[in-house]
């Protein structure tokens, strides 16, 4: 198991290095002139040149990247070119916002997709048809549109929940929950739809297998067969979909944070990319890659726990 873990961690670090290098190269290729953006639209060419020199943008990109990398491996991600805040401190402030909506969305998706998928597979009939139809609609509607609809109805029209803003968990747990409910639900709907379909299909497949018939013939209760044997065998494919959905939720959070005016990593990533704020973009890239690598590692470990044969691969 230790070798398995070391291999996965090493692969994650290689992925992090490759993606960070690619992101840095792409930032220099986008053409976003950070010096001009900072200096403002009325700045003269002399002012822009001075800013460019101050930021080191007049040096070859490989030199800029080398400097960033040597600082980054020591945990120093520099300061944002816009606003001058420390990138690390900025991410510490923004990460809880993004993680709140992504993790809540994932939890919501996990629970609801499991309940709906299993119910549809076991009961079949009208319930199955309703779950399938709802899943198709839920999957087809983009999360940003869902966010706009929820915001306009539940927040603006009915005033049940806040339309914008984030309250930290430490300040007020109830206000935190209110502030993340609509973004998390907006994010979760697509994931629920996709995962519920996968759970349904997997459970139906397992229910048809010979060993289930054998278990039933031995007189085990339906409940025990379902929860002890069927779900454990049906879980790995659903887990794969769920891990992919997590990555999709992280991407979706970028738009959802904009719609709900949340000061998270996603909205920072959009603004920083448009402005060409390389230190902040690189900080966000590292943060996101680490999250995705960590989640994949957890999924791999869960696979290993569910199926020991996986560990030797």
């Amino acid at each position: 198991m230790l070798t398995f873990l070391v291999r996965r961690v090493t692969a994650g670090l290689v992925l992090l290095y490759v993606l960070a290098t690619a992101a840095f190269a792409m930032m220099s290729l986008t053409g976003a002139d950070a010096a001009r953006n900072i200096a403002g639209t009325m700045a003269t060419s002399e002012q822009i040149a001075a800013k460019r020199h101050q930021l080191g943008l007049d040096r070859p990109w490989i030199g800029q990247y080398g400097q960033w990398l040597t600082h980054a491996v020591r945990g120093d991600f520099g300061t944002s070119w816009f606003g001058g805040d420390s990138v690390s401190e900025s991410l510490v402030l923004k990460a809880p916002v993004s993680l709140s909506i992504v993790v809540s969305g994932l939890l919501l998706a996990t629970v609801l997709s499991a309940v709906l998928g299993v119910a549809a597979a076991v009961r079949r009939g009208w319930l199955d048809r309703v779950v399938q139809a709802t899943a198709i609609v839920g999957y087809a509607v983009p999360s940003f549109l869902m966010a706009l609809l929820l915001s306009a109805t539940l927040a603006v029209q009915l005033g049940w929940l806040p339309a914008t803003g984030y309250v930290p968990l430490a300040s007020s747990p109830s206000d935190w929950l209110r502030s993340i409910t609509l973004p998390a639900v907006s994010l979760a709907i697509g994931a629920i739809a996709a995962t519920a379909q996968q759970v349904r299909g997997s459970v139906i497949d397992v229910l048809r297998q010979d060993f289930v018939r054998t278990l039933r013939s031995r007189g085990l209760s339906e409940r025990r067969v379902l929860f002890r044997y069927v779900l454990r065998n049906a879980a790995p494919p659903a887990l794969t979909v769920l891990s992919l959905q997590f990555i999709s939720l992280v991407g979706g959070a970028v738009v959802i944070e904009k719609v709900f005016g949340l000061p998270g990593v996603g909205s920072a990533a959009v603004t920083a990319t448009i402005n060409g704020d390389t230190p902040l973009v690189m900080g966000v890239v590292v943060y996101l890659v680490l999250i995705v690598v960590a989640v994949n590692l957890l999924v791999d470990l869960a696979y290993g726990w569910l199926n020991p044969k996986v560990r030797v691969r």
Binding site: A32, A43, T44, E46, K94, V156, A163, T164, V259, G261
Partner: protein, 496 residues
């Protein structure tokens, strides 16, 4: 950034009721700003909408009224010398920064020179200052390299805000002598900035709210939703959402902001020789149906015009308002007279991500008079750089034109940011030089002559003056200030 910021078009979500009560209490004013904060160091200060970030903590040398005329503030009086290259300012007594340091001439000198050394918009407005002389603790003289007709008014914005000499770079947060202090405990950098009253502020009546909260919300739909649900009291909204906001109990105000139209960057004909000919540029001015653009594209939140000056500015001439009527036949005739009976081909940047309607109208109007347009796909992040470097001979654009000297500095002088061709028109330069050194009525006449000259020579093909549209809750009253998109916080008060 803010000066000519291009704003993305927002599409409203649907809804029914609009709560107007403040979510944060009667003595709190909550604003939502689309622009990200650029830090507390005034050397990095941007203008436009960003002004609202700085106003609570830093007081300015002069205060501007709704018509943007300067009035005493930290400076109680001021006067120029004969050459208008030395501006003497008398300073208010008994003003202290929030770190306890007294505001005196030395502090003013250090702060102004620090801001001037910066690389953002506030610094750019202090370009004419050569040195700052401390005559005595209450008197300071700003020595200029050449007369700057707009300098005193610019000292009413972040350019003229004064930071404590103890922390000019604001490493530990802003230290000013403004009406409020930053409440660090309630502030989250990058998203929410909270301010509580500065108990020692000399003019508390100018700021009736006990607390100010500024939320940075970049998405226009999110800003509108925050307004509609009563989470904020004021925010910039879009023409597309204005009617909806009004119908749901919000106050909506609009004031002249930026001049929109076809900007001709290559007036010398360096890359497209046709554009070097006045008749061609005049033809371009006759190509656009300005009234329809105002009504259909901008939903009435604009004023059709064919001059570059906005109403209310000192160089505005009503008689220039409606020249260059929409007349495609005349445009084709002018093109033929200039030697281009079959038009010409021009490559323009794709602006459909920020002005999709304008792009369609512009291309159609140009093709109607025989000009073939090749639309070049370009990422929005490169647009400003490409235009300023003269990569495109002309394009749709909008820029704040404000007062004449600001316009000249940003669009006409050789080093101007929005004069990519660096074209040199000796006659125009003489006119600018004359206006710069003139005074009073003679100066106004000189600026108006420049406005007229720009129109006669068709420097650009303006369509309209776009409005800055804002929504506010009914619990506050708002008075916009001319020539700036944002409303100063001192121009907001409880409605009662």
């Amino acid at each position: 950034m803010a000066g000519a910021a291009l704003t993305l078009v927002a599409v409203s979500a649907c809804g029914r009721s609009g709560a107007t009560a403040s979510a944060t209490g009667d003595d709190t004013l909550t604003l939502s700003i689309g622009n990200a904060h650029t830090g507390w160091d005034l050397a990095s200060a941007a203008l436009g909408d960003n002004i609202q970030y700085y106003e609570p903590v830093f007081d300015s040398l002069v205060r501007l009224d709704p018509e943007a005329r300067p009035h005493p503030n930290l400076a109680t009086s001021w006067s120029y010398d004969r050459d208008r290259t030395a501006l003497t300012m008398r300073l208010r007594k008994d003003v202290r920064f929030t770190d306890g340091t007294a505001l005196d001439a030395t502090a003013v000198r250090k702060s102004l020179l620090h801001t001037k050394e910066g690389t953002n918009e506030a610094a750019g407005k202090l370009r004419a200052i050569d040195s700052v002389e401390v005559v005595n603790p209450r008197t300071v003289v700003l020595h200029l390299s050449a007369p700057d007709p707009q300098l005193v008014a610019n000292l009413g914005d972040p350019s003229g805000m004064i930071a404590s000499p103890g922390d000019l770079t604001a490493k530990g947060g802003p230290v000013g002598s403004g009406p409020y202090v930053l409440d660090k405990a309630a502030t989250t950098n990058g998203s929410t900035y909270a301010f509580t009253r500065n108990p020692d502020y000399w003019n508390p009546k100018a700021y009736p709210f006990d607390k100010i909260v500024i939320k940075n919300v970049s998405d226009p739909t999110a800003r509108l939703n925050a307004l509609l649900s009563g989470q904020v009291d004021w925010a910039r909204i879009t023409p597309q959402t204005a009617r909806y906001a009004k119908g749901h109990g919000l106050g909506v105000r609009a004031h002249a902001d930026s001049v929109e139209g076809l900007y001709i960057w290559d007036r010398t004909g360096r890359t497209v020789p046709a554009l070097g000919k006045v008749k061609v540029r005049q033809a371009l001015n006759h190509a656009f149906d300005r009234k329809t653009i105002v009504e259909k594209l901008n939903l009435g939140y604009a004023t059709a015009t064919s001059q570059l000056a906005t109403a209310g500015s000192t160089w505005y001439e009503k008689s220039l308002e409606s020249n260059y009527a929409y007349d495609p036949a005349k445009a084709r005739r002018l093109l033929a007279e200039a030697g281009y009976p079959h038009g010409f081909t021009v490559t323009m940047p794709d602006v459909s991500s920020v002005a999709p309607g304008q792009q369609v109208v512009m291309v159609q109007a140009l093709e109607d008079i025989g000009i073939k347009v090749k639309v070049d796909k370009i990422p929005f992040t490169r647009l400003f750089t490409a235009l300023q470097s003269g990569e495109y001979p002309m394009s749709w654009f909008k820029l704040q034109s404000g007062q004449p000297w600001d316009f000249i500095q940003s669009e006409l002088t050789r080093g101007a940011a929005w004069n990519p061709a660096k074209d040199f028109d000796p006659k125009l330069n003489r006119m600018i030089d004359k206006a710069q050194r003139a005074r009073g009525g003679a100066q106004t006449a000189a600026f108006r002559a420049i406005n007229s000259y720009l129109q006669d020579n068709a420097f650009n093909a303006p369509w309209d003056v776009l409005d800055a549209v804002q929504g506010n809750s009914k619990r506050i009253k708002v008075t916009p200030r001319a020539f700036v998109s944002a409303v100063p916080i001192s121009n907001m008060a409880p409605a009662g």
